[in-house]
């Protein structure tokens, strides 16, 4: 059994792209997500100044965002000036995304202006009866897209191991269907709430998963099919978090401070794509570390110089 497992792991690792290519994919995802993360922090600060006349309050979410930003900033400087590549790069991608997850979910356990309410499970509601406050249609669609992502991940993973020629197209098709259902859920919730649903923890987990999946989908369509293997596990993980941690999934009225819709929408929309790109980088980072652990390979190609002078 162990040998069979080793064999599967070895076949999977062997089917992964060359380490240099994964390393480059990590860097590209972070280089795309980092400016967006900067914009998330800046728009949040502008919004806070507008609402509370204090652009920075050292609130746990703000501080956690800053720590996340510093991790990625340190990584980009290290890569540019110290030539950090390979395992260092992969570890930073994973570490940075752990900080993102803490910013997203961890601060809910702290006393933060950004803490989301409704985390208490209503009495008498079981673990698998968590669609309190939403219609049957929405519950069915939500379950549907989750299962589609799970299926797409299994197809992509199996296809990589078995080298099945149609696996990539099949996984893209299934995840595409899941994305359609997911988008319909977001539209339905928007129509019900009569606003973009950006304000509760459950809402944001839905958008977060959508952001990760759509970025993974786009990258996979553009050629790197394994982007689905890198991104979908995180989509599934965060879906489960949203489902379990926020049992009441209905809409609640916006508190006055959240009614400044323009900045709220810009701030959260940027966060969706920033977190999506950084999640993809972390997924690539995990695949890189897995490949190194299983095959014992190390990157050999000379990295491309990224700072030039005349």
């Amino acid at each position: 059994m162990s040998q069979a497992n080793d064999g599967l792991a070895a076949r999977f690792a062997a089917a992964l792209p060359p380490l240099e290519e994964i390393d480059r994919a990590i860097y590209r995802a972070i280089a795309f997500g980092f400016p967006l993360l900067t914009m998330v922090i800046i728009t949040g600060a502008v919004w806070a100044q507008h609402v509370w006349q204090r652009w920075w309050s050292w609130d746990p979410k703000e501080t956690a965002s800053l720590v996340t930003w510093l991790i990625y900033a340190g990584y980009l400087h290290g890569r540019r000036n110290r030539g950090w590549r390979g395992r260092t790069s992969a570890r930073f991608a994973v570490l940075g995304f752990l900080a993102v997850l803490f910013t997203f979910a961890g601060v809910n356990f702290l006393n933060s202006l950004h803490s989301y309410g409704m985390a208490q499970r209503p009495e008498g509601v079981g673990l698998l009866e968590g669609f309190v406050g939403v219609s049957r249609l929405e519950a069915a669609l939500t379950t549907g897209f989750f299962l589609a992502y799970l299926l797409a991940f299994l197809i992509a993973l199996g296809g990589t191991i078995t080298q099945a020629p149609r696996a990539r197209a099949a996984s893209l098709g299934v995840v595409g269907l899941g994305l359609v259902a997911h988008t319909v859920v977001l539209i339905v919730r928007t129509i019900e709430a009569q606003r973009l649903t950006f304000t509760s923890g459950y809402d944001f987990s839905l958008w977060f998963v959508w952001g990760i999946t759509i970025i993974g989908f786009i990258v996979a369509v553009r050629g790197m099919g394994l982007a689905l293997v890198a991104s979908l596990p995180l989509s599934l993980l965060i879906s489960m978090y949203g489902y379990l941690y926020f049992p009441h999934k209905g809409h609640s009225p916006l508190p006055p401070a959240l009614q400044n819709k323009l900045w709220l929408h810009i701030h959260v929309a940027l966060a969706i794509f920033a977190y999506g790109a950084l999640a993809l980088a972390a997924g690539w980072g995990c695949l890189y570390l897995l490949k190194v652990a299983v095959t014992g390979e190390t990157a050999t190609a000379t990295p491309e110089p990224e700072r030039q002078a005349q």
Binding site: Y27, R28, A31, F32, F34, P35, T38, M39, I42, A45, V46, Q49, H50, V51, W52, Q53, R54, W55, W56, W58, P60, T63, A64, L66, V67, L70, I71, A73, G74, H77, G78, R80, N81, R82, G83, F102, V107, L110, N111, P253, P255, P256, A257, Q259, N260, P303, E304, P305, E306, R307, Q308, A309, Q310
Partner: protein, 551 residues
């Protein structure tokens, strides 16, 4: 990496730095290692501030973490990381480090911005990609035109910088402005940090909270740094009729200078008033007091009962109420006292009964009152032990059972138990016939009592205003814009430079040799770009080749 060789921002051998100890410090500040350690230390500090609740009382940490850990927390200032000396020092060092780095980044940006000379292009093209050397069957002059066409097609700007002995050197550049991206982003972060430091200096900034009851004017002592006063003309809360939730808070404010109204404006949560560099924002609200009028013949007197959030009295409650210490008010004569027993922020009458709603939002308020008449007059100046009191036979829902009206004994005993502990000599029973329980009065309702007509006039509200002045904000805004612009240039419009050398082929063969190097860009592959450029040049050269000579 050639960047390490050429990046003088982290080169300790920079000749422009001062000598001695200052020079050593300056060089250390410019080192990447220093920047990295500073970032790690600041991130660690930030992490502590995220996980550990900030700005709490020392007792909070002692209760939660025990004496040893709380002692460490308090000694290291971990309870207020963002204003701790060590954290501010780290910030200042990072700012200095940024300044040291950006000084050299400016020089690098300048060198990237400049159009290189023929020698530099010739040398760079010679060190180009493996794929960057091809033979063309057209003359160098024709190839020059082909390079121009290819550059135009791929979005490069074109400079023919000449060259020695028939050689043509060409410099191509895309997104030339991006040469300044890194410098701009670093200067911008420096500005943000500077703005943050300015905003955190108490001598420059103001961050106060001011509570003004309706109809009142603030006094200078409340916010000494504010060179004007504020009058709250009116306060109202907008409630959604569908959900009953608060939609917004509005304060009608007048700015008073030299006892004159100089400006009047209504502010709300997202619409602050800005005056003389101060932001006055709607921060919170509270109920002030419940007002009751007692009218006996032509004489009328108003009594006030302070109100507080019930949570302040009972952590498990969430509505508003009358705190015990303010629940008794006496008419001027001292013979009549009125006790406020209970308060509803929103109530209605259903079949003669008043039904209150447990709400945070004011609606029609109601207050439950007991009138106590026939009290002996207060004895001022009486010594200890001579206090007079009133014993009120308590029965549910009467919550206030005992009132003492000597100042030193002015307290209300809790509903059960505690009242019995009072020394008997302080307590005089009030005869039952002197008590008139009015029950709940809705706002505007009147009851006739032996002491006169008692009318519940309503409640006054207070507006909680944030008073802030942060002179660092403009710098922060400029920094934000610069940071975004710089990052967009670095990551989304990366500088791309191509160095091309065309050398006429020697011997009988006509044509020329093209050497090329593509540099720069963070996200795209320079090898790919070199190949694409060469393909386009070859295609353009084939089009430009005189007819009959195509090969």
């Amino acid at each position: 990496m050639n960047d390490r060789r050429t990046d003088s921002s982290h080169n300790p051998g920079d000749g422009t730095v001062p000598g001695g100890a200052a020079g050593v410090v300056w060089r250390r500040l410019k080192e990447m290692k220093t920047v990295f350690y500073l970032l790690v230390a600041l991130a660690a500090g930030g992490l502590v501030a995220t996980v550990l609740p900030q700005q709490q009382h020392p007792e909070y940490y002692q209760e939660r973490y025990g004496p040893f850990v709380s002692n460490i927390i308090l000694r290291l200032g971990l309870d207020h990381v963002s204003t701790a000396t060590w954290f501010l020092l780290l910030m200042a060092l990072l700012m200095l480090s940024l300044l040291a780095c950006t000084r050299n980044l400016w020089n690098i940006a300048q060198s990237r911005w400049r159009i290189p000379g023929a020698d530099a292009v010739q040398e760079a093209a010679g060190r180009g990609q493996t794929e960057g050397s091809v033979s063309l069957s057209v003359s160098a002059e024709v190839a020059l035109g082909a390079v121009r066409d290819a550059a135009r097609k791929l979005g490069y700007r074109f400079w023919d910088v000449g060259g020695p002995e028939g050689t043509r050197c060409i410099y191509l550049c895309r997104h030339r402005w991006s040469a300044w991206g890194t410098t701009l982003a670093h200067y911008a972060v420096f500005l943000i940090g500077l703005g943050a430091v300015m905003g955190s200096l108490p001598s420059l900034s103001v961050d106060e909270y001011l509570e003004i009851p309706e109809g009142h004017t603030s006094v200078a002592e409340q916010v000494p740094a504010m060179p004007f006063q504020l009058r709250l003309n009116d306060f109202r809360i907008e409630v959604s009729p569908e959900t009953g939730a608060v939609v917004n808070y509005f304060s009608d404010l007048s700015v008073i200078e030299a006892e004159q109204e100089v400006r009047r404006e209504t502010i709300s949560v997202n619409r602050p008033l800005r005056y003389k560099g101060f932001y006055i924002s709607q921060s919170s609200w509270s109920l002030g007091e419940a007002r009751v009028r007692v009218k006996s013949g032509a004489h009328a007197e108003e009594l006030a009962f302070p109100l507080a959030r019930a949570a302040e009295m009972d952590p498990h409650a969430s509505a508003w109420g009358v705190p015990q210490e303010g629940a008794v008010a006496f008419l001027a004569s001292g013979h009549v006292a009125i006790l406020a027993q209970a308060f509803y922020i929103d109530a209605r009458r259903e079949g003669g009964e008043v039904v209150g709603r447990n709400s945070e939002v004011p609606g029609t308020p109601a207050i439950s009152l007991v009138v106590v008449s026939g009290l002996p007059a207060r004895e001022h100046g009486a010594g200890e032990g001579n206090g007079k009191g009133a014993w009120l036979p308590g029965r549910p829902p009467v919550s206030v059972r005992w009132a003492a009206y000597e100042p030193q004994l002015a307290q209300i005993m809790p509903p059960a138990g505690g009242g019995m502990d009072m020394p008997p000599r302080h307590v005089d029973r009030v005869p039952q016939h002197n008590l008139t329980e009015l029950g709940f009065l809705l706002q505007g309702e009147t009851r006739h009592t032996p002491a006169g007509d008692v009318t519940f006039l309503g409640v006054t509200e207070s507006s909680g205003l944030g008073i802030r002045k942060d002179p660092g904000v403009p710098l922060v805004w400029v920094g934000f814009v610069g940071c975004l612009l710089g990052m967009a240039l670095i990551f989304y419009f990366p500088l791309r430079q191509a160095y091309v050398r065309l050398t006429p082929r020697e011997g009988r063969q006509s044509g020329c040799r093209l050497q090329l190097q593509v540099r720069g860009g963070l996200l795209s592959n320079t090898d790919q770009d070199a190949r694409r450029l060469i393909t386009e040049i070859e295609t353009a050269a084939a089009h430009r080749q005189p007819r009959g000579k195509a090969q």
